[in-house]
Amino acid sequence: MSEQIREQISAFLDGELPSSETELLLKRLARDAQLRESFGRYALIGEACRGSPHEHLTRGLSARINRAIDGEATPAGGSVHRGRARRWWHPVAGAAVAAGVAAVAVVALQQRAVSPSVRPGVAMVAQNIAAAHNKEPVMYTTPAPAALGEAPAALPAARLTNYVFAHSKYSSVLGQSNVLSGLLTAADAEPTPAAAETRSAP
């Protein structure tokens, strides 16, 4: 990826890329899967390096990334900045560093995607609607940490699509953005192995 494109991505993520250049960036991204991948990584890194507007919210991720950055040597000769002002990605200049930092961020996200196994009556006391008739619970405890090793097993794509599609109309409109965008995403829609189909009921 050229310096110019990195500058463009960085400027875009900072909200400072002129619309004419944004159009060009869109076209490049549309035809270049590798660039889209890089864009995704830069967005993650940028979010962490810029810091959240709500700083304490992202402290954990930012700290991890900052530690990763601090652990890297400054690239030989330093960075040469032309054109636009120095941007957030420059402190992590160098593709190797960027990839490493991105990996931290991505792994952090992926780890969260592994579901904790929280079952009623085991890890918490929750609302019993049959008894409470929609009253709020008096007390509850937060769920226990994840049970490691329990990776999500993909459900068959076609059936999953049906469920999500049916859910979307009842979902809050807020939720629709998530579930429908998810349905549009190819990676989530890929056919899944028959394992989930054939696993017997407990």
Binding site: L26, R36, A43, A166
Partner: protein, 336 residues
């Protein structure tokens, strides 16, 4: 929630407004109150024409999508299109929501229930909302070259997601949104690269680009066939016996799923902002489909399926994995 709210947002948190803004416990609020800005956003999304291209970023992946939304003569039409990925499209009008899935050679059609109760029946998010979410303004910034307000809706526990919204200072349109977990870490981001609000939008911009020749058309929706009364009566006893705090049963109904011959029971649980659907399907012995067990990620939400008392139970929602898993596991046939 008013009717236009239902048609306003593929992307964005209209529901935040519909439930959070209306339910504010404060008697009077200043012009900068974040709930007022959420209300303005809702109004903008529901009433404006817009045509935008945005990046959908999640887990280091990025996909470019286009959204077109038109309001003309009281009729709302929307189109959401993947520009560089699956080729899938959603097209919504006053009558139907149509999902074009070229990778599955399928077109799914779900009738709209424009006068139905589903969103209107969601509980208003009143004073007790503060027990589960914190809503606040963050320092203003710029997005897409425009001045933007920043609003944060932060969950207070791990059973729901939060949101950060960057709203255009002039139009209140959301220019950037982030879905966050309870620790504030970003799970998903939607970032507009282009957003126009034209006076008019031609029909051609709302027509699907997918060629449907040879594709299978599947219509699913509310079950109306009384021949399944007995089966539905048996399914209707199933409920989640325990729920994460703040969630309530808001909708019960029957739903055909895909090409299934027998309808499923469909239960909707909501805390006013996040929703989880639970589908209970009759005994797997009579079904051509094998039983399922497991967790799947859908966008930034999750689906969890298991078999309970011989019935397939699947929970789906824009919530953390543990929430769908918790609710699905608690489903049981309750005595009536």
């Amino acid at each position: 929630m008013t009717k236009p709210d239902k048609r306003a947002g593929w992307l964005i948190p209209c529901a935040v407004v519909g439930v959070l803004a209306l339910g504010s416990p404060e008697a009077s609020r200043g012009a900068d109150d974040p709930r007022d800005w959420l209300a303005k956003m809702n109004q903008a999304l529901a009433t404006l024409n817009y045509d935008g291209t945005f990046f959908h970023l999640t887990e280091g992946r990025v996909e470019t999508m286009r959204i077109v939304h038109r309001v003309r003569g009281g009729q709302v039409a929307e189109r959401l299109q993947s520009l560089d990925g699956s080729g899938r499209e959603f097209v919504r009008n006053n009558d139907n929501l149509t999902c074009y899935l070229p990778d599955q050679h399928t077109v799914l059609v779900e009738p709209r229930q424009g006068h139905g109760p589903f969103l209107g029946s969601l509980p208003r998010f009143g004073a007790d909302a503060d027990e589960f979410y914190r809503i606040e303004s963050l320092p203003a910034t710029r997005v897409l070259g425009r001045a933007a307000r920043v609003i944060a809706v932060t969950p207070k526990d791990q059973f729901r997601f939060g949101y950060r919204l960057w709203l255009d200072e002039k139009t209140a349109m959301p220019l950037k949104t982030q879905l966050c977990d309870s620790h504030g870490q970003v799970i998903e981001q939607i970032l507009f690269a282009r957003l126009e609000m034209p006076e008019s939008i031609p029909d051609s911009d709302l027509a699907p680009a997918v060629h449907t020749e040879g594709m299978r058309w599947v219509r699913q929706g509310p079950a109306l066939d009384m021949a399944h009364d007995n089966a539905l009566a048996a399914l209707s006893a199933f409920r989640a016996s325990q729920l994460p705090p703040g969630f309530r049963l808001t909708v019960t109904g029957a739903q055909t799923l895909g090409e299934a011959s027998v309808p499923a029971s469909h239960l909707v649980y909501s805390d006013g902002l996040a929703t989880v659907s639970v589908f209970v399907e009759a005994g797997t012995d009579s079904k051509p489909q094998a039983p399922m067990q497991g967790l799947a990620k859908v966008g930034s939400g999750y689906a969890f399926s298991t078999v309970i008392q011989g019935h397939q139970v699947t929970a789906v929602g824009e919530v953390p994995a543990q929430t769908v898993e918790f609710i699905a596991h608690s489903v049981t046939s309750l005595p009536r």
